[in-house]
């Protein structure tokens, strides 16, 4: 049994501001069905003030409670005030969340950020520049760094509690530890390696076969190396990856980012 506070229980029992706003000025989303929690938030904005907010959440009690309390926190606030809301404040407003459930407050905050970036016509965080760390829960490096920064996270376990990253297959635990190390400057940076074109081809093929392909196969997909031309790597996505709406994200944030990380910052992955 989870040790939920009275506030959390009240919010999942009688959630406030449930529903959608048909003529919303901003809509934000976070999470996904396959990951087990997904959230949509709708904002009505007049004269830089959030006049109404509604939410729809697929998730556990604390996910519903986080969404519900978040809408209460932002209604009537100016956009400047709303921008400053953090996941920590969401959790505090609920009288705290169990450590394993902190990611629910983070998700609420992400949906809000997503809505605001839509409102200000900012591009959603450019996927090409944000490396996907946890493929199970689609958590990016930026999300992890934000969570570390905002909540003063020190350990791998804390990062998992706050972002879910590393909570399923666990393959990205080393990468997360690496991010923590880099953040706290406890480990020196890697040096780039010089190699010939043949070495490069072999290296790229090995990385695809040993690191990338197994991850994709877990979700019923796969990848095939078609050609390499200088810094351009041509690949074919197979199985459930081909035609998946996340495939661009997979290609850029996972395949390209992995190759860039291990080989060369200028590598470009192109689907054929």
């Amino acid at each position: 049994m989870w040790d939920y506070t009275e506030e959390v229980m009240e919010h999942y029992r009688n959630p406030k501001n449930v529903g959608r706003i048909d003529d919303a000025d901003a809509v934000g989303e976070a999470g996904s069905l396959s990951c087990g929690d997904a959230l949509k938030i709708y904002l009505k904005i007049e004269n830089n003030i959030v006049t109404d907010a509604k939410f729809q959440t697929f998730g556990c009690g604390s996910a519903v409670a986080s969404s519900s309390v978040l809408t209460e926190m932002i209604i009537g606030k100016t956009l400047d005030e709303v921008k400053k809301v953090t996941n920590k404040e969401i959790a505090e407003k609920l009288g705290g969340l169990p450590p394993e459930k902190m990611h629910c407050s983070v998700m609420g905050h992400e949906a809000l950020e997503n809505a605001l970036s839509h409102y200000f016509n900012e591009d959603t965080p450019e996927v090409t520049k944000d490396k996907l760390i946890c493929t199970c829960f689609s958590v990016t490096e930026k999300q992890i760094i934000n969570a570390i920064k905002e909540n003063n996270l020190k350990t791998l376990e804390e990062v998992t509690n706050f972002t879910k990253a590393g909570g399923a297959c666990g393959h990205c635990k080393d990468s997360i530890q690496g991010i923590l190390n880099t953040y706290y400057h406890t480990e020196p940076e890697k040096k780039p390696v010089e190699m010939t074109q043949t070495q490069r081809v072999i290296k790229i093929n090995t990385i695809i076969e040993n690191q990338i392909s197994p991850e994709l196969r877990k979700d019923g997909g796969d990848i095939e190396l078609v050609d390499i031309d200088g810094k351009k790597v041509y690949v074919k996505l197979r199985g459930s990856c081909s035609g998946c709406k996340n495939s661009t994200l997979t290609l850029k944030s996972f395949v390209e980012a992995t190759l860039r990380e291990t080989l060369d910052d200028e590598i470009e992955v192109i689907e054929v």
Partner: protein, 397 residues
């Protein structure tokens, strides 16, 4: 508020008759069964009676083939490690993808110790791929480990058939059966099924927690897990837990008597609950095949809503059930069993298991049937997948 307990695959209430049977051994009959005086004989005899009750319950040939342990997990660990340690030259094990974590985690540990483990898959009905199992058996296969019924779906594996195909391919391979979820639900017959080792756990059939048993066919080499005194014929050291052994013996006797009731009345109530939920709730879907299930279990997925949220609301109404949702377990991953069956993500996170017992009443089932449609409707309204839900509602009419 009255409690409606429909989580009997997790644990069961102690039967009053079982409690009465064990009480004297918590009070006046406290002797150590190993003691030489006649007071010691009182508990020694009580254990012999219980051992005979368990022998009868699983239809073993000889009561000596029954070992008492502290849990189903201990029984499984004793069986698996015991067989492997007794024959260290063989390094191959076969099990299924849907085993209980107490077994799966042990196999993952054994893989690190150098064993090769094959995990056999299931189809969308939850049925084991017997061809794959047969192909996996090689001369090096020390052990096949297979549950009799799955704890989450209640799907029964054809143990007799499995045992036959193993022995036909490699007569030296031992078969260990985790029978924890069938004890008290369907008849267990270790002779007819020709298994080598079989584990049961008392608290799943109305004995208290903290007591289990392991059947070990005579002639099976087994290295003990717990080394110490001579208890349990040197196979499991430690002073016998007399009151709990007595309790499990009595519980086994009652469970055997109740098998007919399980197969008819408990099954009728389960079917009524299942059919009622599937008929009245548009986004409900059965997460397994209909046939070859223990009579008390149903696993239903409520699409586009999340399981923990359903359980929290059920709990507010006094109903206890469980979920394969990721959120309930503290882990972040949803049920490995439902994933192995390929249950779609739409229903995976909203899966609810109801498990009945011989103490479940018609009124309790009626109560759940009365509250569920409204509860699910309330949660459906919170879901962000309104378009998908509208589509589903149309399709179901």
């Amino acid at each position: 508020m009255k409690l409606t307990y429909l989580d009997n695959n997790a644990t069961t209430m102690v039967d009053e008759q079982v409690l009465q049977e064990m009480l004297p051994y918590l009070k006046e009959n406290y002797s150590n069964p190993s003691s030489i005086y006649s007071f010691g004989g009182v508990t020694q005899k009580a254990i012999a009676v219980a051992r005979e009750q368990i022998r009868d319950f699983v239809n073993a040939k000889n009561a000596k083939e029954i070992l008492f342990t502290a849990s189903g997990s201990e029984s499984a660990n004793t069986a698996i490690r015991g067989v492997l340690d007794a024959n260290k030259t063989k390094k191959h094990i076969i099990t299924t993808k849907v085993e209980h974590p107490c077994v799966l985690n042990l196999y993952m540990a054994l893989e690190k110790e150098g064993y090769k483990v094959d995990y056999i898959g299931v189809n969308s009905n939850g049925e084991l791929d017997l061809d794959e199992l047969e192909k996996a058996i090689v001369p090096d296969t020390a052990l096949v480990s297979c549950m009799w019924a799955n704890n989450e779906t209640g799907i029964i594996f054809p143990i007799e058939k499995i045992s036959k195909l193993i022995k036909a391919k490699n007569k030296d391979t031992k078969i260990f059966v985790d029978a924890v979820q069938v004890a008290g639900k369907i008849p267990i017959d270790v002779q007819a099924t020709d298994v080598d080792l079989l584990a049961i756990s008392g608290h799943k059939f109305h004995a208290p927690k903290g007591i289990g048993a392991l059947y070990v066919k005579s002639g099976t080499m087994l290295t003990p897990l717990i080394i110490g005194g001579h208890q349990e014929r040197g196979k499991r050291a430690g002073t016998e837990n007399v009151p709990y052994i007595v309790a499990m013996g009595k519980a086994a006797e009652l469970a055997k008597e109740g098998l007919e009731y399980e197969a008819t009345e408990v099954k009728r109530l389960r079917d009524k609950l299942e059919k009622g939920l599937l008929d009245t709730i548009f986004n409900a879907r059965l997460n397994s095949g209909h046939v070859n299930r223990v009579p008390n279990t149903t696993n239903i997925g409520f699409e586009y809503i999340e399981g923990e949220l359903i359980l929290l609301h059920l709990s507010d109404l006094g109903v206890c059930a469980s979920s394969g949702s990721a959120c309930t377990s503290g882990s972040l991953e949803p049920s490995h069993v439902l994933r192995a069956m390929g249950v779609p993500f739409t229903a995976l996170h909203g899966s609810i298991r109801f498990s009945l017992s011989r103490f479940t009443t018609e009124n309790e089932v009626n109560y759940v049937l009365a509250i569920m449609p409204r509860l699910i409707e309330k949660l459906v309204n919170i879901s962000p997948f309104q378009d998908e839900l509208t589509e589903l509602r149309k399709r179901k009419g």
